[in-house]
């Protein structure tokens, strides 16, 4: 069944009659469509601008490198040395074979030493996250003192052969780093020589 064509454009008005009003309905349709498209594009733009859902929980990151100090809300620290070894000992009773990354650092609290611990000390390597080992005597969960840096070492046990490429160390004064300051230290593990055995620095005042 054929559909009759829509009526064509109006015939030229007679000379006697003034020109008819412009086809207002079409203009209006066009306007509505244009406005709708503009609104859709604007909505898309808003979605692009919008932060992800977890944005309110994101940490405030101070990024630094080995040997350079960094400060965040209640933590000031400098990673002084990074070592890698096939075995690690704490200089006392504990010794363990494996693949180890040992990190020496000076750390202090900034504003408040009440409950200030180096609670978060993580290693991000590839798509994996390692936490500082709880084995042996190390500066994991070290007590921080306001303004007076303490020195210590922590060790990360990683799978054999994985100490290569870029890694990031993450430090914070709380287990929960949501919306709090975090110090990130970028380490190029290709520059870190593999030793046979290293000893953790004893915990003490930084020099």
């Amino acid at each position: 069944m054929t559909v009759p064509p829509l009526p064509g454009p109006p015939a030229a008005p007679s000379a006697a009659a003034p020109p008819p009003a412009p086809p207002r309905s079409r203009l209006r349709t066009l306007g509505v469509w244009a406005l709708s498209i503009v609104l859709v594009i604007a909505a898309w733009g808003l979605v692009q601008l919008q932060q992800p859902d977890d944005a309110p929980y994101e940490s405030f990151v101070s990024r630094t490198t080995v040997g350079e100090p960094a400060t965040t809300r209640n933590l000031a620290m400098t990673v002084t040395r990074v070592r890698a070894a096939h075995a690690v000992s704490d200089g006392q009773r504990w010794r363990a074979d494996g693949t180890w990354l040992v990190v020496d650092f000076d750390a202090a609290a900034v504003v408040d030493q009440f409950g200030a611990l180096l609670a978060t000390s993580n290693l991000h390597l590839g798509d994996r996250t390692y936490s500082a080992t709880e084995r042996g005597e190390s500066a994991r969960n070290m007590v921080l003192v306001t303004g007076i840096p303490r020195h210590g070492s922590i060790a990360f046990e990683v799978p054999p052969g994985s100490l290569e490429g870029a890694a990031t160390l993450e430090f914070a004064v709380d287990y929960d780093t949501d919306a709090d300051g975090v110090i990130e230290v970028v380490v190029d593990l290709d520059q870190v020589a593999m030793q046979n055995e290293v000893t953790l620095d004893p915990e003490g005042w930084a020099r």
Binding site: V3, L6, P10, W94, A96, R128, T129, R135, E157
Partner: protein, 251 residues
């Protein structure tokens, strides 16, 4: 309320429409008439389209479609086993040394032993109790450290038909407490429990149950990774040895 009477001059305006047009307005163009004509044409064509669409819609055999969809649904249900429960895969039965991957862990039972008070476990058996020790190799296959004492990790390891009490997990290599399992790091762990001396004796075979679970990522109200729906993933049959005397507390 009185009916409002027709006021003089307002009477029957429609009966004599020519009187409604004031003199002089006749000369005005009548654009309304052409718009009216356009509107009439459009309305007519729209009516024709509607009628056509309705006729076409009437030709669709709705009843047949509904019955057909129902039949297809029933047939596919029957093809996949009807309304019977989906068979739950049975946990595999393994032996010592065989690996089982579940709960994002790679686990392999090495040995089992029973003794008195075992050095380094922190468990002190009461009278009539002994310490059951299971040694297993475990590797965390997840990308973040896992707490060993979680129900989906080493605390999920149990022994079939043996009531256990207490829990201790230590690394065999240095006796340190296995608090966290780092990703990809193979660890030999000793799990110790207190058991009734009558339940397990040297030379027995026990079935160690390894856990399986499902990993979830918190959304909306929860955050972070968690493992839920913890179930038995594998039965591992292992013989129980007598624990060497040097591992026991002698004092």
């Amino acid at each position: 309320m009185a009916l409002p009477g027709l006021r003089k001059g307002a009477a029957r305006p429609l009966a004599h429409p020519e009187y409604a047009v004031r003199v002089g307005e006749r000369d005005e163009p009548l654009p309304a008439s052409r718009e009216e004509a356009d509107a009439t044409t459009r309305a007519a064509s729209e009516a024709r389209i509607t009628a056509w669409a309705r006729k076409m819609a009437d030709r669709v055999p709705t009843a047949w479609l509904v019955s057909g969809a129902g039949a297809v649904l029933l047939a596919s249900t029957a093809a996949f086993g009807g309304l019977a429960d989906v068979p739950v895969p049975k946990p595999p039965k393994l032996h010592a040394g065989e690996h089982y991957v579940g709960s994002d862990l790679d686990m392999s039972v090495v040995s089992a032993a029973i003794g008195g008070e075992v050095r380094g476990t922190g468990l002190s058996p009461a009278a009539g109790q002994r310490t059951l020790v299971v040694v297993l190799d475990v590797t965390n296959e997840f990308s973040k450290p896992r707490s060993a004492s979680a129900k989906d990790v080493l605390k999920g390891v149990t022994v079939k038909d043996v009531a256990v009490q207490g829990f201790s997990a230590d690394r065999t290599v240095d006796g340190s407490s296995a608090s966290f399992l780092q990703p990809g790091v193979a660890t030999r762990v000793r799990i110790s429990w207190l058991v009734d001396a009558d339940d397990v004796a040297p030379g027995d075979e026990i079935q160690v149950l390894l856990p399986d679970s499902t990993h979830f990522v918190g959304e909306l109200f929860t955050r972070g990774d968690y493992w839920a729906d913890i179930r038995t993933g594998a039965y591992v049959t292992v013989g129980v040895d007598e624990l060497p005397a040097e591992d026991e507390v002698t004092s």
